[in-house]
C-alpha cells in the first residue's frame, strides 16, 4: 500500500507532520531566556550581565538544564530588583521566582522535572492571581470603579480602547495626559496648578465598572482553579478549564493593555503546567507567547493601523 491510497491527512499525521510534544523541560529554558532578555532590555544594569550569562547558555546548551544556570540567573535578577526596587515592575519579581522554580526543578531527576514544573507553575499562577485579587479588594479606589475610570481617561495604553468604546477622540485623551503633566510639572514653568479637568463622557463610567468587575471576577476564578489544580493532582479536566480561563484572561487583558512582561511569563507558566495529553494547548500557549512578543502594541492600535492601510 502506498501513500496515495491512504487518506492524505491521516498519512501526513502519521508520517510527516506530527508536531513535537513541546516538552516543558526542553523548551522552557529557551523561551524563558527570550522572555527575560526582552523584559529587561530597558535596564542596562540588569541586561548586560544577563545577556552575557545567556550567551554562555546558548553556546553550552547542556548548561540550560542545570540548577546552577538558573540559580545564577535568579541571583542576577534578584540583585537587579534589590538595586532598583523603586522602579522594578512587579513582573520582575515573578521573573526571580520563576528562575528559582527552574533551578529547583532541574535539581530533580529528569523523570520528575515535568511534574515539578507543572505544580510550581500552578502555585505561581494561583498565588499571583490571589494577591492581585486581594489587593484589588483592599483598594477602595478599585472597587468604586475610579481606578479604571482614571486609567481609561489618562493611560496611553488604554487610549484606543477608550476612544473606541466611549466616543472620546484620541486628541481629547492625549490632552488629558498633557493636563496631567501640567499638574505634575507645571510648577517648573511657572504654572502651579492644584487641579485639572479631564475630558470624559458618562459612557466611560459604565465601561470602567465592567472592566472592574470582569477583571476581579476572572482573577478570582483563576485563583480558585489554579490553586485547586496545584493541590488536587490528576484532574486533567480541571487543568483544561484552568488553562482555557487563563487564555481568556490573556486575550481580554493583554489585547487591551499590552503588558508584555507579565503576559509573557504567564503564558510560559501556562505552557509549563499543561497535562501530558494537552499537547495542543501547549501550542496555544506558545502561540500566545509569540504573539505577545510580536505585538507590543495593543489590538486596538493594530485595528487603527489596518484601517489606515
Amino acid at each position: 500500500m502506498n501513500a496515495l491510497t491512504r487518506a492524505p491527512l491521516r498519512y501526513l499525521r502519521e508520517h510527516r507532520f506530527q508536531l513535537p510534544a513541546l516538552a516543558p523541560p526542553r523548551v522552557l529554558p529557551l523561551l524563558t531566556m527570550v522572555q527575560l532578555l526582552v523584559g529587561t532590555a530597558d535596564n542596562g544594569l540588569l541586561f548586560a550581565p544577563l545577556a552575557a550569562w545567556f550567551a554562555l547558555g546558548a553556546a553550552l546548551p547542556r548548561l540550560l538544564r542545570t540548577p546552577l544556570f538558573w540559580y545564577v540567573t535568579a541571583t542576577i535578577l534578584g540583585t537587579g530588583v534589590y538595586l532598583t526596587w523603586e522602579s522594578a515592575d512587579n513582573h520582575r519579581y515573578l521573573f526571580v521566582y520563576w528562575s528559582l522554580a527552574l533551578c529547583c526543578a532541574f535539581s530533580l531527576p529528569r523523570a520528575q522535572q515535568p511534574l515539578a514544573l507543572a505544580i510550581t507553575s500552578r502555585w505561581l499562577i494561583g498565588l499571583c492571581m490571589l494577591l492581585a485579587a486581594a489587593w484589588k479588594i483592599a483598594s477602595p479606589d478599585y472597587l468604586s470603579g475610579s481606578f479604571f475610570h482614571y486609567e481609561l481617561l489618562a493611560d496611553e495604553r488604554f487610549a484606543h480602547f477608550a476612544s473606541w468604546t466611549s466616543g472620546l477622540s484620541l486628541e481629547q485623551l492625549t490632552e488629558n495626559r498633557t493636563l496631567r503633566e501640567s499638574l505634575v510639572a507645571g510648577q517648573l514653568t511657572g504654572v502651579e496648578l492644584s487641579q485639572v479637568q479631564l475630558h470624559f463622557t458618562p459612557t466611560i463610567t459604565a465601561i470602567a465598572k465592567v472592566l472592574t468587575w470582569w477583571t476581579l471576577g476572572i482573577e478570582s476564578l483563576l485563583t480558585g482553579l489554579f490553586l485547586a489544580a496545584a493541590v488536587v493532582r490528576c484532574r486533567p479536566r480541571l487543568v483544561l478549564v484552568a488553562n482555557l480561563t487563563l487564555l481568556l484572561f490573556a486575550a481580554t487583558t493583554y489585547a487591551v493593555a499590552p503588558v508584555r512582561g507579565f503576559g509573557g511569563v504567564l503564558m510560559l507558566l501556562g505552557l509549563a503546567q499543561c497535562e501530558s495529553g494537552q499537547k495542543k494547548l501547549r501550542y496555544v500557549f506558545l502561540a500566545a507567547f509569540v504573539l505577545m512578543q510580536l505585538c507590543p502594541m495593543p489590538l486596538m492600535d493594530l485595528i487603527v493601523l489596518l484601517r489606515l492601510v
Binding site: 526596587w85 523603586e86 522602579s87 512587579n90 499571583c128 492581585a132 489587593w135 484589588k136 483598594s139 479606589d141 478599585y142 468604586s144 470603579g145 475610579s146 481606578f147 479604571f148 475610570h149 482614571y150 486609567e151 481617561l153 489618562a154 493636563l179 496631567r180 499638574l183 505634575v184 510639572a185 510648577q187 517648573l188 511657572g190 502651579e192 496648578l193 492644584s194 487641579q195 485639572v196 479637568q197 479631564l198 475630558h199 470624559f200 463610567t205 477583571t215 482573577e219 493593555a257 507579565f262
Partner: protein
C-alpha cells in the same frame, strides 16, 4: 497588575529654593524616584538635604499626590508631606 491609583505614578515632588522652583539634577533623580515610591519623612528629609548641598542654599521638598474625582472628572493635587534641608 492593575489595581490602584495610589502608586508612585500619582506622587510628584515640588522643590523650592525660597520662591524659585528647583529642578532635581539627574544624579539625584533616583533619590527623587525613591521618595515618590516610598515617601517616608526620613526619605523626604534626606532628599531635601542632598538638594540643599547641591544648591548651596536651603531647599524645601514637597511631596504631592493627585487623586481622581469620579463625580467631576477632575484630577486634584494635594500636598501630603514636606521637609526642609540646609547646606
Amino acid at each position: 497588575m492593575f489595581s490602584t491609583v495610589e502608586s508612585e505614578d500619582s506622587r510628584f515632588l515640588r522643590c523650592w529654593k525660597e520662591d524659585l522652583p528647583v529642578v532635581i539634577p539627574k544624579y539625584l533623580s533616583r533619590e527623587g524616584q525613591r521618595v515618590r515610591a516610598a515617601p517616608t519623612p526620613q526619605a523626604v528629609a534626606r532628599l531635601a538635604g542632598l538638594l540643599a548641598e547641591c544648591e548651596h542654599a536651603p531647599v524645601t521638598v514637597e511631596v504631592w499626590q493627585y487623586r481622581f474625582d469620579v463625580a467631576t472628572g477632575k484630577l486634584i493635587a494635594q500636598k501630603r508631606d514636606e521637609a526642609r534641608g540646609a547646606p
